[in-house]
Each structure stands twice: as structure tokens, then as C-alpha cells.
Symmetry: C2
Subunit: 777 residues, 2 copies
Amino acid sequence: MDTVSRIDVSGIDAYWRAANYLSVGQIYLRDNPLLTEPLDARHIKPRLLGHWGTTPGLNFCFAHLNRVILERDQDMIYIAGPGHGGPAAVAHAWLEGTYSDYYPEVSQDAAGMRRLFRQFSYPGGVPSHVAPETPGSIHEGGELGYALAHAYGAAFDNPGLVVACIVGDGEAETGPLAGSWHANKFADPRRDGVVLPILHLNGYKIANPTVLARIPEEELLKLLEGYGYRPHVVAGAEPAAMHELMARTLDEVFDEIAAFKRGEIPRQPMIVLRSPKGWTGPAEVDGVPVEGTWRSHQVPLAGVRDDKGHRAALEAWMRSYRPEELFDADGRPVAEVRALVPEGPRRMSANPHANGGELLRPLALPDFRDYAVEVKRPAAAHSEPTRVLGGFLRDVIAANPRDFRLFGPDETASNRLSAVYETTGKAWHAEVLPTDENLTPDGRVMEVLSEHLCQGWLEGYLLTGRHGLFNCYEAFIHIVDAMFNQHAKWLETSQKIPWRRPVASLNYLLSSHVWRQDHNGFSHQDPGFLDVVMNKRPEVVRVYLPPDANTLLSVADHCLRSRDYVNVVVAGKQPVLDLFTMEEAVTHCTHGLGIVPWASNDEGVEPDVVLACAGDVPTLETLAAAAMLREFLPGLKVRVVNIVDLMRLMPDTEHPHGLRDPEFNALFTVDKPVIFNFHGYPWLIHRLTYRRHGHVNLHVRGYKERGTTTTPFDMAMLNDIDRYHLVMDVIDRVPGLGTRAAHLRQRMSDARIAARAHTREHGEDPEEIRNWNWPGR
Amino acid sequence: MDTVSRIDVSGIDAYWRAANYLSVGQIYLRDNPLLTEPLDARHIKPRLLGHWGTTPGLNFCFAHLNRVILERDQDMIYIAGPGHGGPAAVAHAWLEGTYSDYYPEVSQDAAGMRRLFRQFSYPGGVPSHVAPETPGSIHEGGELGYALAHAYGAAFDNPGLVVACIVGDGEAETGPLAGSWHANKFADPRRDGVVLPILHLNGYKIANPTVLARIPEEELLKLLEGYGYRPHVVAGAEPAAMHELMARTLDEVFDEIAAFKRGEIPRQPMIVLRSPKGWTGPAEVDGVPVEGTWRSHQVPLAGVRDDKGHRAALEAWMRSYRPEELFDADGRPVAEVRALVPEGPRRMSANPHANGGELLRPLALPDFRDYAVEVKRPAAAHSEPTRVLGGFLRDVIAANPRDFRLFGPDETASNRLSAVYETTGKAWHAEVLPTDENLTPDGRVMEVLSEHLCQGWLEGYLLTGRHGLFNCYEAFIHIVDAMFNQHAKWLETSQKIPWRRPVASLNYLLSSHVWRQDHNGFSHQDPGFLDVVMNKRPEVVRVYLPPDANTLLSVADHCLRSRDYVNVVVAGKQPVLDLFTMEEAVTHCTHGLGIVPWASNDEGVEPDVVLACAGDVPTLETLAAAAMLREFLPGLKVRVVNIVDLMRLMPDTEHPHGLRDPEFNALFTVDKPVIFNFHGYPWLIHRLTYRRHGHVNLHVRGYKERGTTTTPFDMAMLNDIDRYHLVMDVIDRVPGLGTRAAHLRQRMSDARIAARAHTREHGEDPEEIRNWNWPGR
């Protein structure tokens, strides 16, 4: 039967009008929600904040998708790329009853509607954007660019799910969104759900037309076909005709989705929706066109509180939706509107995929201790930490075939995690040649040369209740600084919302780090992601710098078990010394920091100097320095403290991991020099410790933007984190060391010059450095 | 005459072989550059670093473009998106003689060739990537994504220029690159140069195939046509056939470019070059295929130093280029090779556009004092700083019609710079509707909803010798953190290269800042770009926080005159009090910080407390707090210090703007409490001042990740930077203030509670706050 003869177009229109009415009410009203009396200035909010322009289009899609859900019993969630259309998502959740389920004070009646209107973008209320507070959402509106990436992340491993994803035409101009279309080459129609992109061309962004709305339609369709989709155009402005067209198109599209999943057609469908910006809003205000122009982007009638003409226009606008047909006298949606609301979890506002913690299963984790490297004697053998971790991750993948994925921008092998390919491949849905390796449609490793896609996929995957890890070169992770910020803020807000269930943490493994850029150079050197991360609330961020393979295993296990955090783990792929047995590693990581006894000689006494270190390369240099000091200045009492969990340095009043002052003082002393050798920018350590008692005695070495393509030890020397310089630092700061120390200092200075000269002459570090043999061993 | 009958294909091939030979030599050899003796282990570098895979393709393009330059006397520069192919750019510059011009020790003979090989990716040598050290380059290789954006930036306002831009197929997967294709909608064929994209599909990235190489060709061509280009495919592996095909295609393409510039065809051409990765390199190594696979990405023969078989393969590979035909006995390129080298500045390696400082003209700047707001009495009237700045920028644009552009992600009007539209429009080369405003093909305002494009365009524009300013919402500027990092590093390196002439600074205006997110919410709140910026070397970064309109004008003038820096200016668009007359503003900005005398009451004596402030909203709150203290605790000596130039806080040993300790101590005292109210994250101030004498007395207020969509004053209160809290801070920290202060403290606490309650009740700040009237005025 033909779509239009079968369905209730007027019911869809009623639902749409109800949603539009509720959207306008949220933007403008703080009282008189049902317009039971003429609109008066006192009913209007003093500050009018919100975005109308995109909202009617979002509501249009909600209404029509509900019809499909009801007819096909379709499991579906909704991602509003133009998340600034918050009123739409809130209106929809209220119409579906979910809003009142989660927030009983916002009841589904006139009193609740008044509250719904009043709270919107109001102090103490709810944000103007789609946000964690919004039922049914996994996608923060605001910064644009990530809607499709989130949609694909949500679809992975959810074979029955359709993720409807509204792409605003402004968002479509951003780079990350433009790159995200190609995510279809990484999704498997059988194993994964289907993303249904709805490119919503309403023609304008804030103050300008958009590119995709103004190129010839032939060019637009080629572009979308070139991205690998089958576009269907729904264009118009007349509601009745548009309802029929949208309904017919959706029937075709969902038939195509079914055929695509059965493998009968090679391309998935998508929709191009052309509708006026601010559709159904005021056509003109003060003599200039508003509907269908950029002027409807935010609040089309700005003067409603003081200008009677504006207020009358607002009232006429709201009454044009005929609220008396949509809500009963008590403000409840009438049966015709409710008829379009699916049952229980089929409601997009209540779908558990959009509150992923509800679906979260703990990972089945093999015992990380089984992957330990044997350490008979500390600092006697070498391992590549990430290679060791690769074995653990391989078995994590094998044990969790539907709940865990590994993401990376073409760097998983380079980061030496290749053991994972013993159990799985890389997801790939394009041509495969005989020389290719490890490509398979159902691979669990997601490799695409886009940090934005990796991050967006992982966020979408986690927020729908799964687990994952993003491995990335340290320097390139800044590409997703802005995305990290939003995700951390999402988590922080979610933690305070009772109905949002905890989700798995977002885990970063940063390798190929600042100290080992063998193939690259100065442009690749930047450890500053840690600074970006530490700017977020302590409730949500964790930073770990395991110095060897066994500590990395212990940290990784901890991170994979954690919830609602962002965990950043920095670990090298190059060989480093094995320092801790697995038992010691567990203890060390549990404490987060501790004295390295075999590298210290201060047993039972206060040390003369503390050598602190965080990060694998800085730790090795510190251990080498300590060894030289033990040999050449045996009377000097040296304590070596290694820090794995950077948050331990913060005051306990500021971070749950923070050391209490007495603990800190016991470790670092209150009056002895502390030479702190750090992986990142040195001022980060000062920032974490400036309230500590002994802070004035703290001298931090770290990366200070000195580098090029050079040898590893030359990099260390360029930034003064090398063993020789550390010894010089100690001698400069511990008083009364005498002539022998002065001679040693000269020797260290000479050793630096000699090492530099050797490197320039031979193109590699001196042999004793390359093999990490230091004087004194 | 047909291309192939006209041109010297074998000459092109000779040039290509010479470039390939020189590229391989750079990766492997430190001696025996002409293979005058059999290759021995001692000729091989100990560490083999570099990227071969992309290099022969880059060389192929160089050779063929040189032929076009010679035939058409074409002004052209070359952007190597796969900048990891550094050996190609260096080889080309050496063949053209530019390398020896800039680096005479690397002469164009055997001794120079030996040096050329040895220095590459060698300690004390040159980076393995295209870098500032590379003649003819404005584009750092490394992080991928920005090649096309840089190319368009270089082409703007250079009507005679062609910018050849190699887009690697790995880079094409990144979001920023995917979005950059649409830059053609913002370029004017008459006013601007033409970008010639060469999509180089060699099939692989580091360890994986690439998406664009593995989708059906029909889909690929649709995609590129959808982006608005006319693609020409050059595909093959057999050199002779490929030379003919490339030469023919380039003739067509440059004819089309001419027709496009004359307006005869609507779409610009581009090339899809399909050639094997690692073309002409070893077909197989140790029994596995290498040429044409991802295995040729870096160093195809890894064991040449120790493995005789590998070494023999390397020698055979190098000899396959027949060096004896390419270089004379002294190592000089033979005439056949030199025949393809253009004259002087037509050489792409010596084109002045690629060393933009050579072409830089100072801006014609109107006197910024002419735009001053009149300030009869400080803090008595209000202005919107960015609106005032807009008038100045309008006249900067008018006075520099070919040298200055304003960039912004659809936020120029929102940031209240709309006065610029009195003199120019927004560049736009797509459909225009009657309701549109200010769109014109030759507009000087570049608005696209992509921070990546804005940043990339501006970088390309500056590095080719022009000027500009990027205005952006503060929260969204994190999107380009990674791009900022690379540009800052580029500038820092360039400053040390004598032949690189200074270029105009990259100027950011961050508005709609963290304290005024009226339309947005928590997801938009982040002042952390300052932290990212401050991580770079002091030589290249400057941060300014002008508190009012006149100081903003003074700062903007200073930034537009500066060279080789990144200047970050944070200034609000909302009304703030006018604090400084223009004369005072100039003095204040020249000092970078200073006492605000009319807000202080410590004349002639040491203050009891210092109220420091940086940023417009924090400054207003501080001034209000000072006024209350003056009124209610008149015996308390309060000094207000405002900081415009954040770098003044750093020690003079660490930043050229840093205050010497005696100056710092004189302003801030060494023993009095300093309550510092800061625009950004508070720890940034601690980080800048931790070495200062009085640091223990410093108490910093700032943004601590507390926010939502709420009123401006509620935002201040949520983060404790509000006037009431500052007074409480003073009372808590100045000893012996007595009962009156205790009462005042209670009053302040009550005022906060009342303000919060008022805001919740009325949806806006109390009237006395909204009008910035504080008790005591």
C-alpha cells in the first residue's frame, strides 16, 4: 500500500506542531504556557536565549522517524548535529514522556509545561543545547563537526540499530565532518548498525549561506555519491507536501537499509532535506525577511518583552500551531499526538543505547600479570612496553568480541601493538589487494588517518555502552584537543545526573612520544596534551606515566576497569629497562608513586637530595644519574622517587588521588633539593606542586621546545634532562659537596660535549648510551 | 604541436632520475656520493631515517612542473602535502642551485653532494621532513591535513600565481583536508591565483591502504567533481608512458587554468596521479614485495649496513638511475638535467612567494588613536571593545586592498566587527540569493565554518608575505591547537635561518570568551588556548588581555605591526566600562601592566593588599571590589594593578617582555597579599610567577570549569571571580582588619546569596550588576 494512503499524515503534522509549539515556548515563555490568557510582558523571559532556526527541521525529522519506529519496530537513536537546536530534543523527550520519567517535577501537564519552558536556558535550568541533561542524547551540541563520527561509533557492533544523524549544513563545512562521510568504509552491514545521515540544508549558518546549500544540486549529489551514499532529496516548504514526500522517502530509505544489510545493494541510503531555516516561524520581522534566512538562526523576535508588535507576532506565531488541538485543558498531549510515541525503550528519548551505561558490561579481562616480563634483577634487561601491552590487548580483544575496539590513526603497528593482529584484523570495506595484510570487514582494529574520526568513533562507542582504547602518536593528539574538552565536560556533567549510568572511561595510549621522534622532527615534538587534560575537572581526568613494561600492564588493566574518566597513558615503544617485577609494579602503580629502593642509598636517613622522575625516558636518565652519584659521590644520600600517577602530586583537597601533605613531605622532604625529571613541559609539575611545602626546593627538568630530527640522547641533552645534566644539577644544588663534586661536575660537562661531538661525527649516540649502560653499573 | 613531439621527454626523465638518486643518497649515504667506489658499510649512515615511499612521486611532479614553468614562464610554487618526503624537496632545491645559494657549504659538486647526503636527518643536520630549512617551502610536513588550506592561502591576492599542491592519499583521509577542497568557493579566478591540486594516490599510508585509492574510480571522480573540480587522471607505473601522459595532461590542465581565469570554464582542473608507492625502488626485499606496497613508506632496505645482500640491492637501486649520465665527474648536474631548471625566481625552490618576508610590505595603518572612545571620567561609560575595533579594521582593510584579510568561522558579525562590511564584503563564489548580505567575489572577509580552513588560509597568506587577523570564539580556537603548534614551531625555526625573511605575525582575536557565553553553555567554556600558546618558546608567542576599547585599539595596532610572532588578543564583545583615555591606554599597553591610580588608594605608601587583574570581566569585578573596599574599609590601602601583556609576569630571563624582579616587587610587593583575578585557568598565573619573591602571597582566581548557560554575573560567582568574593578574599588574607571587616564579609556573602536567588527568580542579573554600578560609586 502506498505510504500516504497508509499513514496518518495529519497525525504526523500534529506531532510536529506540538514539538514546534513546545520549542518556541521554551525559547520565550516563563509563564502562560498554554496561552490561556493573552501574552503579556510578564510571561516573557527577560533574556531570550536559544536557537530557533534549525529547530523545526529537527522536529520534522523526529516526527517522521517516530512513524517509522512504530511501523517497523525499529531500534533507533537520534543524533542532532545542530545540537544548538536543544529545544527540539527537549520538546520531543517531553512529548514522549521520558522527560517526566527522568525529571518528575517537569510533569506532562500544564504545570510541567510551564516548568519546561521556564527552565530552558535559564539560571539553574537546562542548557540551550542538546546536552547530557537531555534524554536520548549522546551528542553534545555546540562545537560542530563530530555528529557523523559519533553516529558511526554508536552503530558499531549494534547490528539491529539505525542511527539517524542530522548533519547541519553549517556543520558540513567543518573538516572533521567532511572527513567523516568516509566512515562507511569501516562499517560492516552485517555486524554493525546502519547510520542514516540526514543532511539538513536549511541554507544558512549563523550569518552566512552555507556551501552545500549553494552549489548546484548535480554537484551536491555527485559529492554524496562520491562519498559512497545513495542520496534521496526531500525539498520544499509547504508542510503537507513535505510530510508526504518525507514519509514516502523514509519508506524507500528503510527498505534500502534492509536491502543493504542483506548485502543486496552496495551503498547505504541517505537523505538531503532542504527546508527553510526557521520554518513555520515569522516570515518577516520589522520589514525584513526572517523565515528562510540566517536571521532566524537564534531568536527571530528579539523585542517581545518591550515591543507590543513583536509580542503580538509571537502570540500569532505560537497560536498558528493551534495548541488547543494538541494539548488538552490540563496541558497533556492529546491522543493524536501521543499516537506517534513509540513504546518504552523504542522511544528515541529513552533508548538505552543513548544512556550507554545501562547496557555496559564489564570487560572480560585476562589477568594482566600473565603478560609480565620477568625481572630477575632490576634494570638488567630491556623490553618494548607497548609491544608487551600488545599481547594483553590481543587477548582483551579475543575475550570481548563485541564490546571492545582498538582505534588508531594508522599507527597501531608503528606503536608496536601488532600482536593484536594475531587475533583480529583491521576493519575495511573497500577493495583489498593480494599484498594487503590484516584487512577484514569485521576487524576489531579501527585504523583511519584521521584523529578526529578515531576520537569521535570511540566517544560514540563508549557513550553507547562499550569499551575501547585510542593509540596515537603523542604529538598528533593535539588534533583532538577540542573533542577531548567536550567529552570531559560531558562526563563531568553526566556524573551529576542520576539517570545517566556510568560509562567506560576514554583511554588514550600516547606513544612515539616527544623523546623518541626518530623518524620525525621538531614539528612532531609536543607533550602538551597533558596540560590540556589537566585543565579539566579533577573528577574526570587521570594521567599515568608508567616507566616500564610491567607498570604499563598494571596501569592498562586499571584504566580498562575504570568508569567515567579520561585516562591518558604515556608509554614509549622503544626498548626501556625492565625496572619492576610484576608484583612490585602492582604495588608501585597502586601507590601511584614511590621510592625506587635499589636506586637510592638513603636507607634509614634523610636524603641529601631527591631525584624525582615521571615518564620512561626521564626515569632512565634519572636512574643513570643516581647510579653515577652513588659511584662517584658515595657519601651523598640520594633518594629516587618515581611517579606513575601524576595526580598524586596535587593536593588531596584538589584531586581524589592527591597525596596528603605529610605523605608528600615524607617522600620529597620539606627542605632538600628535589631534581624532578619530567616527561612533559616542566611548568606542569610546578603547577601541581606550588602549594607544597618544599616547592621552593623543586627544580624541574622537562621538555622545553628544543629539538630536531636527532638521536634520542641528543634530544635529552638539548633539553637538559640527560643523566649528565642531572648530576650537574645535584652538584649545583646540594651545598658543601667539595672538590670531588666539582671535579665530577666538570667530568659531566665534558661528557656532554663528548657525547654531542660523537653524535655529530657518527650519526648515532655513543655505544654506552645506546645500550643504556651507565658508569657505575 | 603535440606535447610529446614538442618536449624533451628524456630530459624530464633525466631530471627525475637525478632527483631520485639524490633522494636515495640522502636517506642512506654519508660518503661515496657518486658511487665512485663499490658501496661499503662505512658509506652508510648508522641510523637510516626518512621516507622513501612518497618521494619518487614528488620528484616526478617537480620535474614535470619545471617543464611547464619553462614553457609558459609560469609563476609557481610547490606545496608538498606529504612533507615527510623531505628528500625530494631538498634534491630539487639542490638541482636548481638554490640550495647552494642559501647554504654555500653544500655546493653543487661532489663535495656538496656528500654534505647534502650526510646532513639529511643527521644530528646537527636538516630535518627529514620539508621544513623551514628547505628552500621553496611554506608548508611543514609532518602532521597531515593542511596542504590545500595553505595552498589557497598562498594563492589569495596573487593573480599570476599557480600553487601546485600535492595531496597525499593518506592526508586526503584527514578531516581538515577533506573540508579544504571547498576552498574553491572562496577564491576569485580574477583576483586570486589558482591552486592546482595533485591528488597523489600511491595507495598506502604508513601500514594500510588508503580510502581514496580503494574506492571505485567512478566514485572518486564523482567526489572530486562534487567538490567542484575537473579531475584528470594520470595513472601507471611505466616511466616512459607516464612521462608522456603527465606532460600531455599538464598541457591540458594549464590551458584549462588559463580558460578558468578568463572565465571561460566554471571549474578549475586538478590531477589524480596514480603511481606506485616507492616507485623505482626495490621491487622485493627478502622475498616480500616492497615497491607498490606500504613497506616502501620509510626505508625499504633496512639492513644495508650489516647485510651485504641489502647493500648490494641498494647499490643496484642507486645505479639503476645511471648517475654517470646525470652528474659529471665533479658531481655537477649535466646540461640535460640543468636544462629543466628555470631561471632565478622562477625556480620553485627560489620563488619569493615561498619566502614571503621578501615580498612583505608594511601595512598602511590608519592612526588607531582616531578610533578612540572618549573617556572623560574613567569607568563612567560603556563600549563594546570589538565593535570599536571593527571601525579600525574597516579602515585597515580599505587602506590595504591587496595585503590584508580578516578570517573567521562565520563569527565576524557575532563578534561585532561588522563595521568592516562598510568597506568590503565576504568572499563568496557560489550562488547568491536576494536575501543575502555582503557577499561578493572579491570580499576581504573570509568566512567559512571551519576553524581549520581559517587558520590554514591565514598561515598560507602570511607565509607568502601578507597580513591578517583571525577572529574566533574563544572556546572553539582549541580546534586549531595542533595547527598553532606547528606554525609557532615554523616561526621559531625560521627566526634562526638567515635567508628566511620575517613575516607578519599571526594575530588571533578571541572574543565571545569564557565569561560571556550568553547563547551557549558549559560545552563552550574554555580559556585554555592561552595555556597551549604559553607552552611554545617565548621568542614567538605574545598574549594580550586589553580590558577596554582603547587598550584593545592600542594592542591591535601593535600586533599588526609586529613580525614573526603569534599574538593572541582576548577581548569581549559585550559592553564594558571605558577605563582609559587613549593617551593612558597607549602608556598602559606600552608598559604592558600598571597601577590603576583612580581605583587605588595607596598613594605614597605601601599597600595593604594588591588587587591584580587581567582580562575584561575580571578587571571589572576587581574594580568593583576595590570600590567597595575604598568605601567600606577606607583605612585599607588597596592597590589595583591591571595586566594587559601577560608575558610581563614571566621572569626577564625567560621572556623578552618579562619584568625584572625589582620592577615586579615594586608593583606587587614582596610580602603583601595579592588577589589576582584572571581571565583564564588560575594555575597559568602561578606557572608564570612561581619564581617571584612574593609568590607565596599570590592568590589567583580564575576559571575553574564551573559553568552552564546562565547569566554573566552568575558565571562569575560560580567561579568565585565576582566582586563580592574578591572582597571576601581580601578580608580573609589581610590580617587585623577587625569587626567592621567581619561585618563586611558577611554582607558580601549575603550579597552573593541574594544575587544568586535574584537570578534564579528573575532570569537575569540584579539591576545594579547589569549596569555595572557597584556600591560606592
